[in-house]
Structures are given as C-alpha cells and as structure tokens.
C-alpha cells in the first residue's frame, strides 16, 4: 500500500522557515556608501509605509472604502533600499502589493490614500484603486494585479530604455506566486537573449496567497534564472543595509552590461494575503519569529547604536509621520469622487472616440 504522502499531489505539511534568510550584512552604512544623514529619511519612509498601511487597514475595516487591500507590512526594507539604490529616472514596476513601493518612490501619502478611497485626487485619479497605483512622472509604472502579467512589461520598459540608449534600467517586482507563471519564463528567455537591462526581483514572502512557497514552487526560486543563463542571487529583505549591499552591485552591473539579473529577496508579510485572509496556513510562532527582526526596528536600533540620531529625534519623526498619515486620511475623505464623465475618460487617447451605446 502506498504511503500517505504518495496519496497527495501538492506537498503538504511544510511551512516557510525564517532560517532560509541569508545572514544580514555586518557592513556599516558608510562602507555601503551611505552617509549618516541618509539613514533618517530612509527610516522615516519605512515607517511612513508601515503607518500608512496600518491606518489604511483600520479605515478599510471601518468600511471607508471598498475593493481589495493587500498590505506590504514587513517588506518595507525592500522598497526603501530599491529607491535608495536606483536613480530617480530608473523605471520601477510591481504587482498588486504596491502601496509601499509607491510611497518609497515619493508618491505623496495624500495621493495614495485618496486612491484607496477612490477619489479624483488619487494617484490614479481613483480609477485604479489599491492594486493599481501609478506615478509615471516618477517612473513608477504600477500597480499590476494579474499575477505575473507585468513581468513582460518590465522587460518592455527595459527594452525601450536600451533602444533609446538613455542609460536607465528597469526593475520589476513580483511575488513568489508569480514565479510559477509562464509569463516569467517567456520573459526571462527573451530578456536574457536580448540582453535587456532589467532587474527581476521576486519578493519571496513565503506565501502565494495561502500556499507556502514549498507547496507551490519546485526548487529554489532564484535558480529559475539558471535555465536561461541569467545571473541570480538571494538577498535578505528584512534588513535595509543588507538589501542595499545586494542591490548596489546588481544595479551597477545591469546598467553596465545591459544584462538582466534575477534576485530572490527573502522577506515576510506580517498581514494576510488580503484583508479577508484568516491565515490558517501559518503559525503565530512563525509570524512572531519574523517580527523579532523587523526591518524598521532593526534600522532604528542601528541608528541609535551608531548614535546618528537620539531616541527623542526618532520619536519626533514618528510623531510627524503619524500626523502625516492622519492628514492623508483627512485629505482623502474630503476629496471629491471622480466626476461621472470620468467613466469614459482615459480609455482612449483619442478624445472623440465614439463609444458604443
């Protein structure tokens, strides 16, 4: 008689282990090219991402706005390090867990909150919602909610950059669930074959919705690059300085060689896949383990340890951000909803398109 394990297809009983995180860097910020004064803005932004989403979740639960809400909480070191390492005109594209990256890129909390509320002052004029934040002026290309479907778009952004010889690179984020899509494999093949200057980053937060990475993906994620001869590696997404260390060389190399790179960032989301997720697939212990090396706390501790700022100064920043987020809620609530005519705006560039009735 077959063993019980043989009677299932999808592996069962395995959970994501924090021990798979690479060791954080021991390098000082100065060794990584950061000045003392660079760290507080990073801390401030990471805390802004966190506070923004905590408040957004509260407002969502109060029924202030509808739609889906996927929180990035726990992953803030990834967005913050990316924006720090990239040039301002490098192109960023991501999936639907996107609030943090937009805030990191500089989209205002007001515009982000208003987008959640579906207001005309939102960063996508209220037409995208939580999953579709756009800020093209800041080279932030969304906000995409069909899993894996934006991976070729990231390569396309890079293709246009290479075509125009403008020196920009593209960075394309997606979750571990997207690695299983055909779009990734088709794009990797072409990106390598065509030598496109793009960094593909899988933010492996351990779960594809409610399915752990061990249950949805065969092998190590970053090794998917190997099949295409694509350089690849693993980074610790729970630590800002480690992320800077990993990304810096990669970004430099991609820019110089115009060859793609696939980075697997090990990270963790503290909240569920979306707001309606009971999270039965993981234990409280596991969550607590990850929270014990929270990226924001870690950076704060580092700043204190290095005596870059005092606790008092940090508290002031926290207070300031708390207020900024409350102001954003106020802004969103007071903003107008899109006008009715907006229903038919922005579908076509052509202004007089004869819509079918």
């Amino acid at each position: 008689m077959a063993k019980k394990a043989d009677e299932t297809f999808t592996p069962t009983g395995k959970v994501y282990k924090s021990t798979t995180l690479p060791k954080p860097t021991r390098k000082k910020h100065t060794t990584l090219g950061l000045k003392d004064e660079d760290l507080m803005p990073v801390f401030r932004n990471m805390y802004l991402q966190r506070r923004f989403e905590e408040r957004a979740a509260q407002m969502y639960q109060k029924g202030k706005f509808g739609g889906f809400l996927h929180l990035y909480i726990g992953q803030e070191a990834v967005s913050a390090s990316t924006v720090h390492v990239l040039n301002d005109d490098d192109d960023i594209i991501s999936a639907y867990r996107v609030h943090g990256l937009a805030l990191a890129r500089g989209t205002s909390p007001n515009a982000c909150m208003a987008e959640l509320y579906g207001k005309k002052t939102g960063c996508s004029k209220g037409k995208g919602g939580s999953m579709h934040f756009f800020d093209v002026e800041r080279h932030f290309w969304g906000g995409h909610a069909i899993v894996g479907a934006h991976i070729p778009l990231g390569a396309g952004l890079a293709m246009a950059n290479k075509y125009k010889k403008n020196g920009r690179i593209a960075i394309c984020f997606f979750g571990d669930g997207a690695v299983d899509q055909g779009s990734l494999n088709e794009t990797f093949n072409m990106a390598q074959l065509w030598k496109l200057p793009v960094v593909f980053v899988v933010e492996n937060n351990g779960y594809s919705m409610g399915t752990s990475v061990e249950r949805h993906s065969a092998g190590q994620l970053h090794k998917r690059g190997e099949a295409y001869g694509m350089k690849n590696g693993v980074a610790n997404g729970m630590d800002f300085l480690s992320m800077v260390e990993s990304l810096k060389d990669v970004v430099e190399e991609v820019r110089e060689t115009s060859e793609p790179y696939f980075m697997e960032v090990k990270t963790y989301r503290y909240r569920g896949h979306s707001m309606s997720d009971p999270q039965n697939y993981r234990t409280k212990d596991e969550l607590e383990e990850f929270r014990s090396f929270d990226p924001i706390e870690r950076l704060k501790d580092y700043i204190l340890k290095e005596k870059i700022q005092t606790q008092k100064e940090i508290d002031e920043v926290i207070e300031e951000v708390d207020q900024e987020v409350l102001d954003a809620i106020d802004f969103a609530e007071k903003s107008d909803a899109p006008d009715d005519h907006e229903l038919f705006e922005d579908i076509y560039v052509q202004e007089d398109f004869p819509f079918h009735k």
């Binding site: 037409k127 995208g128 093209v136 778009l153 390569a155 088709e186 072409m190 819509f355």
Partner: protein
C-alpha cells in the same frame, strides 16, 4: 497608381511609417531573417536592421507583453502574430494590459501598439487555427479593431493604426495576402470608423468585412444576374464601427444581410443586427438575416469545412429570404 498585392500594401504602410518615425519597431515570429512567414515583412530587416525588425521566440504572451511595456515607455511597436489564433496565448497582455493600463493609471500613459496578423480560417487547418477574433477584441473597451478586405484599404488603415496612440488590433488573412489592387503612389490614410460602399444597389444592404467581403461580392454579382441589386458595405473597422452608413443604406433598401466569419453567438453580426433593429426598425421590410460560420468549431474534413465556411450561395439564400424571393 500601381498594382500591389495585399502583403505589399501592408509592407509599404509599415516601411513608409518606419522611415518617418524611428520609434516604430516590428516584432514577431519569423519577421526578420526568414523575411516573414507570409513574406509581409520581406526585406525589412535589410532596410531597418535587427534593432527595429526583431525575430522573437514562439512566446506570444512574452513578446506581446514586452511590446506593451516598450509602448508604455516611448516606442511604437508593431507586433506581428503568425496568426491571431496563436495570439490567444498572449491575450492576457492584449485584453488586460494593452487595453486597460491607461485607464487604470488615470490616463498617465499611452500604449501606441499595433497587433497585426492573419485572422480567421485559411482552409483545412483544423479548429484551433480557424477562429475569427474580431468580435472578441471588439468587445473590449480600450482596443480598436480593424479588418481590411482589400489592399488599398489595408495600406491606408494600417498607416492610421501605426500613427494611432491607442492599441489597435489589425486583422488580415492568409488567403488575402495575394490579392491585387491598384494603390496610389502618393501617400494616403483611411480613418477608423468609416465604412465604404463598395457596390451600390437599391434592393438589399449586405454588410460584409474582411474575407467575407469577397464572398458577399460574389453573391452580389450572381444576384445581379437575377435583377437583384445589392448594396455592399464594407465597414473596414470593427471598432469603432460605421453604423451610420449601414442605417442610411437600410433606409434606402429596407433589407439587410450581415456576413461575418465569426461564430453566431455574440458575434459581430449579432451586435450589428441589434443596432439595426434599434435604430432602423421602422425602415425594415424584413427581419435582418445573417450568414456566419455555425456554432461549431472548424472541422478538418473537406466536405465539412465547405459546409462550415460561409459561401456565396448562403448569402444569396439570405438575400432571397429578406426579399421574400424564397
């Protein structure tokens, strides 16, 4: 004027536009070194080089999406599908990304891209190689859909498509690539949403696009021998669609037959028929009839395939029905 094949007309449209605008690129399977699966892009690699005429792997999803991304970031890609039947695996990129990202971003970007290639059936190729997709794409807000039936129209419409800042689905047919027609030497474009009366007549209006135009034309020639003068309207673009021209014609003929290579359920003919009943109800002397492929996949066997594909006889029968000659 000089006589050109359909494939040459399309090529000329691309070449002329690419000479003027170096952000235009052509991507697809076999478009470069092989010179085009149907020789549409013949010699284009020689003129424009591998940076602008780009062979892709057989990865319709991948290269459609890369094209959309490149369009978002300033290029104007022309994506050639070897057939739109293969584009089905890349449809997510067309329907979810090309058509909707501008809207979801609140108009922060544009996606000037043309997806072009043969559409519908081309003989006994089996069910997966024989679908007419115009109804499906026309269903999606954000796309424009064009299906030319003749070289002259094809060239003018493709130039419009390439210059358009919105995503355009440009449908062709393997079976029409060899069709010849006089093409002006001077430059011209044809706007979307404007049909063309290709044959004038007072007795019945036949609406037929793409390859089916030629079936309708043959039927009209036969009907004329019987003293029935059909007016044939080739709408040329499916979305936007020139309903006004159809309605005006029906006001004269009071009868209408729609010929469409789509399946009947929720196809183009269904939508055109709905608009006619709503906007020209009082002018109709008979219910509108349609000739389409049946609600069945394309069969392989010759006899079944011939049964499946609309022909002139079916069109004549439909005209006889609306003129009560049956």
């Amino acid at each position: 004027m000089s006589e050109k094949q359909f494939r040459e007309a399309i090529r000329e449209a691309m070449v002329e536009e690419m000479r003027k605008d170096d952000t235009i690129i052509l991507m697809g399977e076999e478009v470069a070194e092989y010179n085009g699966a149907y020789k549409v892009s013949q010699n284009m690699l020689d003129e424009f080089g591998g940076k602008r005429v780009i062979d892709t792997p057989i990865s319709e999803l991948g290269f459609s999406g890369i094209g959309v991304g490149a369009a978002m970031n300033g290029l104007r890609p022309i994506i050639e599908f070897m057939t739109f039947n293969f584009a089905v695996v890349g449809m997510d990129q067309i329907i979810n990304n090309a058509a909707k990202i501008r809207y979801m971003s609140g108009g922060q970007l544009k996606i000037p891209i043309v997806f072009r290639g043969p559409n519908a059936s081309a003989g006994q190729l089996g069910a997966t190689h024989s679908v007419a997709f115009e109804s499906l794409y026309a269903h999606i807000p954000g796309l424009k859909v064009v299906y030319a039936s003749e070289p002259y129209d094809a060239k003018g419409l493709l130039k419009t498509a390439i210059r358009d800042d919105d995503p355009v689905i440009f449908l062709e047919s393997e079976q029409m690539y060899g069709l010849k027609q006089e093409i002006p030497d001077e430059e011209y474009t044809i706007p979307f949403g404007k049909g063309k009366i290709k044959r004038e007549g007072d007795d019945v209006t036949i609406v037929a696009h793409g390859k089916m135009y030629h079936v309708a034309k043959k039927a009209a020639e036969e009907l004329a021998k019987d003293g029935v003068e059909a007016e044939i309207i080739d709408p040329r673009s499916m979305k936007p669609f020139d309903f006004e021209m159809v309605i005006e014609s029906i006001k004269k003929t009071n009868r209408c037959v729609i010929v469409d290579e789509s399946h009947p359920f929720a196809g183009m003919a269904a939508e055109i028929g709905f608009i006619i009943q709503r906007d020209a109800f009082d002018y109709l002397d008979a219910p509108v009839q349609r000739v389409t492929v049946p609600d069945a996949p394309a069969p392989f066997a010759k006899n079944l395939f011939d049964l499946w594909l609309p022909d002139a006889k079916q069109v004549i029968d439909a005209v006889n029905t609306v003129t009560y000659r049956n």
